[in-house]
Symmetry: C2
Subunit: 222 residues, 2 copies
DNA sequence: TGAGTTCGGTCGTCCAGCCGACAATACAGA
DNA sequence: TCTGTATTGTCGGCTGGACGACCGAACTCA
């Protein structure tokens, strides 16, 4: 991939908007780009230097394989998200990112390069700090959801959050393109496949939502 | 409190170690110090500008009151920790910090002052960013503990972490000064008072630990 | 177009741990 | 020293939701 393309990719990321175009160009030199199609795996390289990743386009899921060989979805990464740095747990586990949409593009920096960038660019540093704060808050709310809410509530909050991020809303409903299996959703809300299926049908019955394999439609109820 | 005292207080905080003494002095001007005794409450002021807090000395617990009036301990803040910025959930809940030890000293900055500091001081910014990353990791590990481990395991990890931070170790045991009630521990590991009591006695029986109201002694077992 | 694989639907069983209730103890303040 | 309050100890009942099992439906790939 040539520098020009890189330049345009980085340019419209919120995080880099504080940089001048010459600063941005010099950053392009040290970026690494990767593209992937649905189902492909983007590896975190544990061996070499740690890297910071920016998802430019598409959607990823961070999965981990537990001792029984089950795939646990730990997080969803969407366009614009930063990942890799802290997603890595101390115990070097079998954790990696899988593309769930086509045309995934992400770029990465070596951790130390990135740190240097932050140091040279206070603006960028602040921007990054705020970003992290935001993510911290989200994790915290996930945590307290898990602590205090039952599965039913977690399921609904999950759908609502999802809808607010990716849904296309009409007058009285929000439509979501569904690229997750019940299994995926289950591990995201920390439950089981069967329970998720049950909840889908329960809510469908109540008229709160409708769904097929490819779509989820949330009815807006006042 | 005079500037000199402030200066010495800030000086040996890890975060500020990257600053020169003149930089540090100028920061002293904008800090606010508070002291508290056991049981006293340090309020987060929701109304005025958000503040960032640094705990200089002592221990705090962040508690929240739920709808039934129960006190839920959300976090423990120890000497050197930063708090306030993200502990605040979006829903302005009844959340505040309570001193659990005597001689608590903490200082705070207005959020915008702090941001300016970070911007002016890339070194400090980077230092702060790393700090946050560390906290993020901890929260993440708490989260996956809650997801995948049973109460028994969470209880033990909690004790182990506590011991590693505050315990005084001897040849074959670690002693902890216990300032938490079973109730407190329960909400920290997301369980109930009764279960915590049970676990304490179960492990005591097994000879893994010993405890009284004021002390917890963890036996080191190879 | 058919065989293999993954995903969704449903049921019955089972248990960790929550919850209420109450007793025993420790502790603090007068 | 006495009394009220906070903490700890213990028990049984109860239940949310995990888990295994099994089947049909949908998707995929040759």
């Amino acid at each position: 991939m040539n520098l020009d393309t890189k330049y345009w990719y980085l340019r419209d990321h919120k995080l880099f908007s504080v940089l001048s175009s010459s600063e941005l160009k010099s950053i392009c030199m040290i970026t690494n780009f990767k593209t992937a199609r649905k189902g492909e795996i983007i590896l975190f390289s544990h061996d070499e230097n740690t890297r910071v990743y920016f998802l430019k386009k598409g959607t990823l899921k961070i999965v981990e394989i537990d001792e029984k060989g089950n795939e646990i979805v730990k997080d969803l990464i969407q366009k614009g998200d930063i990942f890799g740095e802290f997603t890595l747990t101390e115990t070097q586990s079998d954790e990696y990112a899988v593309a769930v949409s086509d045309n995934v593009i992400c770029c990465s920096f070596r951790m130390d390069d990135f740190e240097q960038m932050l140091e040279k660019n206070p603006q960028l540093g602040l921007s990054y700090t705020k970003w992290m704060g935001f993510r911290f808050k989200r994790l915290q709310s996930k945590y307290s959801n898990l602590m205090f809410k039952d599965v039913r509530t977690r399921f609904m909050s999950f759908l609502e959050e999802w809808a607010s991020k990716e849904g296309t809303a009409s007058a009285d409903e929000v439509t979501l393109k569904n690229y997750l299996t019940h299994q995926d959703i289950a591990s995201l809300i920390c439950s089981t496949r069967q329970t998720v299926t049950q909840l889908f049908n329960e809510f469908k019955e109540k008229g709160i939502l409708d769904y097929s394999r490819t779509e989820i439609i949330l009815k807006k109820t006042a």
